[in-house]
């Protein structure tokens, strides 16, 4: 038994627990603003949108009756239920777009519509209507014209002083900067914080519900379900018209309430969302086409083309796609292996592999096979559950019949384990002679990890977080014969992956270039390193579950630069044409036109101002700042949705078959995201340039438009040296002739 005082105290504590946090929260003035807005919205709901509650009650009734009707029809019960969903609302309303009440009247009006549509009088009326719109537009323009004229006149006749007041702000600009710092930026920050506050504290959701009620969104959703239930039970097509009218009636509340400006903004926002969605879908589609193209190619692919056509870009792009495809392939094959023994505790196997990988006893396919075979040996010697990863082998099968032969569980485990190694390998699967950045991210909760292979929806500020760089290609790994470094530790390390070699011809040479080299040479050379033999047997080390997890992408300007013995193994893709930059996002033509027009004007005016003045003025500050924002938006669109199309001719490495035409897509959002450096070997040339103490300005120039003889000699050209020899010969002959004379 508790006393009254204790009960009272408990009640007091309970109230404190509820109200003290509320009171504390209300000390934040931002809450008061939100509460005031909420009351405003509620007042509108009660006093303005007076039929919203009736519509919800009606929708509830319609839903209940439709559900009963649906149930009765489904169970074939006798009933007299008349679903009210096919009737109009009792709330007073004006038919939107002057629509008639019934379907019959609509049919009559429909034929009237087309008769009227085809009359000249109606078309003339439309032209008058357009004329009226143009009248209002011209009125607005007339109002703006004086302002624009004044601005142009001021710019034209204003004295444009030339000065060298470097980086000094004009007086007005100083005041403007103060305004920006003290008023504009604090206001903007306050609004941003308030918006975040609204979202965080749940006011946004509350307001969404209030407006969903006001604009009949809740009633529309309920009516939709009600009509759906009625329609699938009765197939009453005629009543669809009533639904359309009811929907328009409900939508018209929002349509008439919000001013046209809001609808324009909403429309533009929706259009932007839609076009971006289409843009991303198109990019994904292009990526899928590229993957199809890569899948059709053999293990070794060589890409050729003249300088600047995008050979290296293309092999990099192919390598990035191939890496994702290898992970996907490994995953799919793992799932197939899993399905062969669906009750096998694969997680135990994975955890045991993880431990082995952590202590570096498993690091390659060969060590993985060894690891599994050791477990198999233990199990076959002593059949215990702990040796087969706690698999209940006494209850479940140890063999799988694939209708060709019986597969032993240990063979499947070995395959699964190798695929798992390829799938979970943390670092990049690319091994290249130049750096390639990939950014697919492994998401791991400690169970089966998944790869986020998103290529286009990437936050650019997070770029470095997920970056992985390609492994450095040690060519000794690819040499079966002599190696540049004897007993190279890395020489035997390659098993699977994507080998990418740019400028292969310069590395390997062709028969003509290697003519001086001998097989018996003491040091490694393309004739004694057996690189070609390695290339011919490349798939042997990388095959898991009958699938070769290896691909070699190489490029050079000419296919003949690479010796025929190796080149014959591959397929050659010659880039014939690179299209101009296109945009995957539709409906950007007007935006592109306006922005490029404005930026063209802006740059012209800005460069003129920079030429004349060294100081900073307010127009320069404001217009150049705005142009910067426009440039950022425009560049962002093109960098996200821009793409180039490469036209390729594919032929056999023997170069004696037919050529097939293919298209390959280079999407900016994928390949231009700091994937590789187009001047990947520039470091060499930088060293070379640093050795020189002369620049372009220090080089001698021709004196006239006709080169002097000493200027010709300065070229150190073989040709001019020959000419100089001829000239010297003539001079000698002439001197000899003179002497004889």
């Amino acid at each position: 038994m508790t006393s009254v005082r204790e009960d009272f105290q408990k009640m007091k504590d309970g109230l404190k627990r509820v109200f003290v946090p509320i009171g504390r929260a209300l000390k934040n003035y931002r809450h008061w603003i939100c509460i005031a807005i909420t009351f405003g919205f509620l007042a509108l709901a009660i006093f303005y949108f007076t039929s919203a509650d009736v519509r919800i009650i009606e929708a509830g009734r319609d839903l209940g009756l439709s559900f009963a009707f649906y149930g009765a029809e489904l169970l074939e019960l006798e009933h007299r239920i008349r679903p009210s969903v096919i009737e109009f609302s009792t709330t007073p309303f004006e038919m939107p777009f002057h629509l008639p009440d019934t379907w019959e009247e609509f049919q009559v009006l429909w034929s009237d519509y087309w008769k009227l549509w085809a009359t000249k009088a109606n078309f003339d009326e439309y032209l008058y209507f357009l004329g009226d719109i143009l009248y209002y537009v011209s009125k607005i323009l007339c109002l703006c014209l004086p302002l624009v004229s004044i601005f142009i006149l001021l710019r034209t006749f204003k004295n444009r002083p030339v000065n060298n007041d470097y980086n000094k702000d004009s007086k007005f600009l100083q005041r403007w900067r103060k305004f920006e710092k003290k008023v504009y930026i604090p206001c903007r920050e306050w609004v941003k914080k308030q918006l975040t506050f609204i979202k965080e504290k749940g006011y946004f959701k509350l307001w969404c519900w209030i407006w969903a009620y006001n604009f009949n969104v809740i009633a529309i959703a309920m009516e939709f379900v009600a009509f759906y239930l009625y329609f699938i039970a009765d197939f009453d097509f005629v009543s669809i018209y009533v639904q359309v009218v009811k929907l328009l009636r409900d939508v018209s509340v929002a349509l008439y309430f919000l001013p046209i400006v809001v609808w324009v903004i909403v429309g533009l926002w929706l259009m932007d969302k839609l076009r971006r969605k289409i843009g991303y879908e198109r990019l994904e589609h292009m990526e899928m086409k590229n993957r199809g193209f890569i899948n059709e190619r053999p293990i070794v692919v060589m890409i050729n083309g003249t300088m600047g056509t995008g050979k290296t870009t293309m092999i990099t792009d192919m390598a990035l796609s191939q890496e994702i495809m290898f992970r996907d392939e490994a995953f799919n094959r793992m799932m197939q292996a899993d399905l062969k023994f669906p009750f096998f505790p694969w997680i135990n196997l994975e955890l045991s592999i993880k431990r082995a990988m952590q202590n570096h006893s498993v690091y390659s396919l060969a060590t993985m096979r060894k690891f599994i075979r050791r477990r198999r040996y233990l199990f076959e010697r002593q059949k215990k559950r702990k040796y087969i990863f706690d698999y209940d082998f006494e209850f479940y099968s140890l063999e799988f019949d694939n209708k060709l032969y019986l597969e032993n569980i240990w063979d499947v485990i070995e395959t699964y384990a190798q695929l798992y190694l390829i799938y979970v390998t943390q670092s990049s699967l690319i091994i290249s002679n130049y750096s390639i950045r990939s950014d697919i991210a492994k998401v791991d909760n400690g169970n089966l990890p998944l790869w986020n292979t998103e290529l286009f929806h990437i936050d650019s500020s997070m770029l470095e977080t997920y970056s992985k760089y390609a492994h450095i290609l040690d060519f000794d790994m690819l040499r079966l014969g002599k190696k540049v470094i004897e007993r190279n530790k890395k020489a035997d390390s390659f098993e699977f992956g994507i080998i990418v070699i740019t400028e292969i011809g310069k590395e390997r040479g062709n028969n003509l270039e290697n003519i001086e080299l001998k097989k018996k040479d003491e040091f490694a050379n393309p004739k004694n390193d057996l690189f070609n033999d390695w290339l011919k047997m490349i798939r042997h080390s990388a095959t898991v579950d009958n699938f070769p997890f290896v691909k070699v992408f190489v490029d050079d300007q000419r296919p003949e630069s690479w010796g025929a013995d190796a080149r014959d193994l591959c397929e050659i893709g010659i880039i014939e044409e690179r299209s101009s930059r296109k945009l995957a996002m539709p409906l950007f033509a007007l935006g592109d036109l306006l922005i490029t027009w404005r930026l063209g004007k802006g740059v012209k005016s800005y460069s003129q101002t920079r030429f004349e003045r060294g100081d900073n003025t307010t127009p320069k500050h404001v217009f150049h700042g705005a142009d910067g924002k426009l440039f950022k938006y425009h560049l962002g669109i093109f960098n996200t949705f821009g793409f180039d199309k490469l036209r390729l001719n594919i032929e056999k490495g023997t170069m004696d078959g037919d050529k097939k035409q293919h298209w390959y897509y280079l999407m900016d959002g994928k390949i231009k995201r700091k994937r590789f450096s187009t001047d990947c070997f520039s470091e060499v040339f930088e060293e070379k340039a640093l050795r020189s103490d002369m620049g372009l300005d220090d080089l001698d120039c021709y004196v006239t438009s006709k080169a002097k003889f000493f200027e010709m000699l300065e070229t150190n050209s073989y040709f001019f040296q020959k000419l100089a020899g001829i000239k010297d010969g003539f001079t000698q002959k002439k001197e000899n002739a003179d002497k004889t004379a």
């Binding site: 777009f97 002057h98 629509l99 009006l109 009237d112 519509y113 009227l116 549509w117 109606n122 078309f123 009326e125 439309y126 209507f129 357009l130 101009s580 930059r581 033509a589 007007l590 592109d592 036109l593 490029t596």
Partner: protein, 32 residues
């Protein structure tokens, strides 16, 4: 070339809008 394509796209867009506008305008006329 891109500029030409953009202008063409804008012109086609405006013509389509005017065409659509005629349909909507006739809707209003038939109900009067």
């Amino acid at each position: 070339m891109n500029k030409f394509k953009n202008i063409l796209a804008v012109v086609v867009g405006v013509v389509l809008l005017l065409f659509l506008g005629y349909f909507l305008f006739t809707c209003g006329q038939v109900g009067k």
